[in-house]
């Protein structure tokens, strides 16, 4: 493998179409005869529908069709991951209708789809539909929802409990360890609900071609094949070979565009019904009400220490909010993507998590950048900094004392945690030490002491996190309840002239696959990057795929491409050996040439490609062509980790918090394109700090969404941040061919507790010994904590 491109900050190939306004997102697509849909949604969180009257609406100008719940009542959207109760019972999986006909269960629950010639006409008609609602009491908090007498979201789900679940060591062992602890740090907190807010609102176009009896769905998705599989096999009962799903340019996802949404199925059904294309694009207000939210845990956590500051046990009780319906991965997030990360970077000998997952009258909760892993990291890292304060120890030293010692996963084995996972490789001390160096720790503490005498308090917060990425080994996740495999597909088609088309099941919605993947392919084949085209996002051209999420594109999708590249080179060597009249073993492939070892006799990659397609002088028994497809199923998760350090300044008078510095030292394994990896970290940091200081979805007690717009929900903006200070460590992943671990979520996972810890540290430095401030740490909340 040459390294002309790998490891270099190659500028992105895909940029030009976006900087010139030529990107093609779903809402930009116009099909002949296209109609427009508008969804009529419930303004109430919980209400019985006594009557829906569409008669007036149907007569209005431009209206083509109106679909209500009755018409599509035989369809239901399934959940992709089955989790069982502690006692072995199957989780409760109530129906998830495309349109509600009897009872709405959250603000934004859809009751009708109106299709008209224009969007405005559809909206006008929707306003003329009469829905007679009988409003019922609602419950929005998971810990409240499970109490006796709480309003039920689904009549047949007692106490709103979808399932309860546990992981770790036996509870009694953890209790015993905690009983023997010298000090216990205990924290009750909420990991608040967030709205993902990809900037492109969700948008779908359904198209039905009656001549070929073929459907096409254009969708702003992170995983077109997964949508096709779910929609065809589990919702609509359509034959997959008659359905094409296209995910064109997609304007960000962050998890929210993984899931199969009801509107995808509805535009598909509607397109056939009216035999015309149907487009639906949500407004931002609808996005707040219907794009799956993230987080929303209510937790009581305790960490026990011995006299020397070694962790002896960790005991947690959490209520996780699933919202009103199960979204595609919602049940996996608080369990297998969260509970399995509670070892963190520490040697904690005894861990127990008791989890209860509940339905509430709110928007569904599913994976949002990090998905479960930020919740685990927040819990651990808040406890660590707080414990250091309480025990009057240094938070960095406390971590160094408890870190798992370095291991490379090759000479030294992987690290077996108490919560099922086995870490691949890591040097956890390394990232913290580098972070402290970048911070200038001693100088900072001096400055902090001086600042404490003034009106501005300085604080530093640490977070040393780990995540499980490269999702995921199919057999492992299958045994844990996943209803699909999580391998990836990569096809490499060498064209007769030696140009290369690569088809990947991964999907880029900002990650830069067209560049990063081309770097890998060009280096492996020793050809220029211009000769490589990366194709993704269309189920008719890409064989199959599981899509992009869980920091998996390169670790899993890239590995599948590498497998196909190996096959190409192996076959190329056979062709070369025949032409050069030597044995196959004597051929070496390097820098785009097949050479007879020890000689200067060689054939270029282009020659071999042409020979494969014009096989006149050709080995017997070898098929023509140079085109291979591979499925790669990872052996293990990958485990990126890192150290995030946040420095804040808090105004004692107003509680206003400013992020002064943010240092991130991440180990995401081998890096193919440093510029793109840094960009991923930057974006994640802004989201993670956004959770700490600015963002949070709020419902009132009647279930009203009270900040469902950009006027009310604080989105991080450019002037909320300093320039980020990044560095990295590279410990290759030992179990995939590129050594990559994944970089998409790291920034978002590590940064939240660092920012909160920094504010708490600032307050302690001013003599305010607070344990917790509820996120987001607004000026008002910080001020109240001091007054």
């Amino acid at each position: 493998m040459s390294n002309k491109f790998i490891g270099k900050s190659i500028k992105r190939i895909e940029d030009k179409r976006f900087t010139t306004g030529k990107g093609r997102y779903t809402d930009d697509i116009v099909l002949p005869g296209m109609t427009h849909a508008y969804m009529l949604r419930s303004p109430y969180a919980h209400a019985r529908i006594n009557r829906i009257d569409t008669s007036e609406a149907e007569t209005m100008e431009g209206v083509v069709a109106i679909i209500t719940g009755e018409e599509v009542s035989h369809y239901s959207v399934p959940c992709g991951w089955q989790v069982n109760f502690k006692n072995g019972d199957t989780m409760k999986e109530p129906p998830h209708p495309l349109l509600v006909k009897d009872k709405v269960r959250h603000v934004g629950d859809a009751v009708a789809m109106v299709i008209a010639e224009t969007r405005e006409q559809a909206q006008d008609a929707a306003e003329a539909i009469i829905v007679d609602y009988e409003v019922l009491p609602a419950v929005v908090n998971a810990a409240e929802a499970v109490k006796d007498g709480a309003p039920l979201v689904h009549d047949d789900v007692p106490n709103n409990i979808c399932f309860d679940w546990e992981i770790g060591n036996p509870k009694a062992e953890v209790d015993e360890a905690m009983d023997g602890a010298h000090h216990i740090t205990s924290l009750e907190f909420v990991n608040q609900r967030l709205s993902p807010n990809a900037m492109e609102p969700r948008s779908y176009i359904g198209h039905y071609d009656s001549v070929y009896d073929k459907y096409t769905l254009y969708t702003s998705t992170q995983n077109p094949h997964l949508i096709r599989l779910l929609m065809c096999a589990f919702v609509l009962g359509l034959p997959e070979h008659k359905v094409r799903v296209v995910g064109p340019d997609v304007g960000g996802g962050f998890g929210s565009k993984i899931y199969h949404y009801t509107e995808e199925a509805l535009v598909t059904v509607a397109a056939k019904k009216i035999n015309r294309p149907v487009k639906w694009t949500e407004t931002r207000s609808e996005a707040f009400q219907t794009d799956a939210h993230g987080r929303d845990h209510v937790t009581h956590a305790e960490m026990g220490f011995d006299a020397a500051g070694k962790i002896v046990g960790l005991r947690i009780k959490t209520f996780a909010n699933l919202g009103a319906y199960l979204s595609t991965f919602s049940t996996a997030v608080p369990t297998y993507l969260h509970g399995t990360l509670l070892q963190g970077l520490y040697t904690t000998p005894k861990i127990h998590l008791d989890m209860t997952c509940a339905f509430t009258h709110t928007t569904a909760v599913d994976a949002y950048r990090g998905a479960g892993r930020p919740e685990a990291t927040y819990l651990l890292e808040r406890l660590m900094d707080l414990a250091a304060h309480e025990m009057d120890m240094d938070p960095a030293e406390l971590r160094l004392k408890n870190f798992i010692p370095p291991f490379d996963g090759v000479e030294q084995p992987g690290y077996q945690t108490n919560v099922a996972l086995q870490y691949d490789s890591g040097n956890y001390h390394g990232v913290l030490e580098r972070g402290l160096q970048m911070l200038g720790y001693e100088d900072f503490r001096k400055a902090q002491q001086e600042a404490a005498q003034t009106g501005k308090l300085l604080g530093v917060g640490f977070s040393t996190y780990i995540e499980a990425c490269g999702i995921a080994p199919s057999a492992v996740v299958g045994s844990l309840g996943a209803r699909a495999g999580l391998y990836e597909v990569g096809q490499v088609r060498v064209q007769p002239t030696g140009k290369v088309s690569v088809f990947t099941g991964a999907h880029s919605h900002g990650q830069g696959h067209e560049t990063t993947f081309a770097q890998v392919v060009a280096d492996r084949l020793g050809i220029p990057m211009e000769d490589v085209d990366i194709i993704h996002g269309d189920s008719d051209t890409v064989a199959f795929g599981m899509g992009t999420y869980g920091s998996r594109s390169l670790a899993v999708g890239g590995s599948a491409i590498m497998k196909s590249l190996d096959k190409i080179i192996e076959k190329g060597a056979k062709i070369a050996a025949h032409k050069l009249e030597c044995s196959e073993e004597d051929i070496v492939f390097a820098d785009g040439k097949f050479t007879v070892t020890g000689t200067d006799r060689s054939l270029g990659f282009g020659d071999i490609a042409l020979t494969a397609y014009v096989p006149h002088v050709y080995p017997q028994n070898l098929e023509p062509g140079l085109d291979f497809s591979s499925f790669y199923d990872p052996k293990n998760f990958t485990y990126p980790y890192g150290c995030h350090i946040c420095v804040v300044e808090v105004d004692k008078e107003t509680g206003e918090t400013k992020v002064k510095r943010f240092i991130a030292v991440d180990d995401v394994g081998t890096v193919i394109n440093p510029m793109i990896v840094d960009g991923q970290i930057h974006g994640g940091l802004a989201q993670g700090i956004g959770q700490a200081l600015m963002e949070g979805v709020e419902y009132d007690e009647t279930g009203q969404l009270i900040n469902g717009s950009y006027m009310d929900y604080t989105m991080p903006r450019a002037d909320d941040f300093p320039m980020f200070e990044l560095d990295r460590q590279e410990t290759p992943c030992p179990h995939n061919p590129l050594g990559v671990k994944g970089a998409g979520e790291a920034g978002c996972i590590g940064s939240t507790p660092a920012a909160v810890n920094a504010v708490i540290d600032a307050l302690w430095s001013g003599g305010f010994k607070v344990k917790d401030i509820k996120m987001p740490l607004t000026s008002e909340r910080v001020w109240r904590a001091m007054n």
Partner: protein, 158 residues
């Protein structure tokens, strides 16, 4: 319905518009200029930013009818003749975009910012981007891209 005449990217159009049609929808649906995006319904995100008579405006915050007689530039018109605008180049150089959805609005806003203030400080750039939301980049590389474009065009009259 009313009839409006606007010049968009150097070309004059006379079109019928409904009274309630927003300028952004006129550009996208009537003229097919889909580089201008809609990211919100509260005039908060800046994805729809264009230039109206030389200044940046959010095209979702006004009616098409109000633009009658105006000269408009959208992202598609920023590189007339095909040579990219220094900001378009700098966004590529500094990795100032990921999904690209906010990018047209960011570039149009930044172009106005630089024409008002050719040598902005980091703070001035960050404050100048207050009306534009990007969910992907954490703004870091957008700020750097604008700094780079400013450096490259310093002294060159806009």
């Amino acid at each position: 319905m009313s009839t409006i005449t606007v010049t968009v990217n150097g070309k004059s159009y006379t079109k019928e518009v409904e009274g309630r049609t927003l300028l952004v929808h006129f550009l996208r649906d009537t003229l097919g200029l889909t580089g201008t995006h809609v990211g919100c319904d509260t005039s908060s995100c800046g994805a729809c930013t264009i230039h109206l008579d030389g200044r940046a405006v959010k095209s979702c915050s006004m009616l098409a009818a109000q633009a009658d007689g105006s000269i408009l530039t959208t992202i598609e018109g920023l590189a007339p003749g095909g040579e990219l605008h220094p900001l378009q180049v700098a966004f590529n150089d500094e990795h100032g975009l990921q999904c690209g959805f906010c990018t047209p609005g960011m570039i149009m806003t930044a172009a106005d910012l630089l024409s008002q203030n050719p040598n902005p400080t980091e703070r001035e750039i960050r404050e100048g981007l207050e009306g534009n939301i990007c969910r992907c980049t954490g703004y870091h590389n957008i700020v750097r891209a604008i700094q780079l474009a400013a450096e490259r065009t310093a002294g060159v009259p806009a």
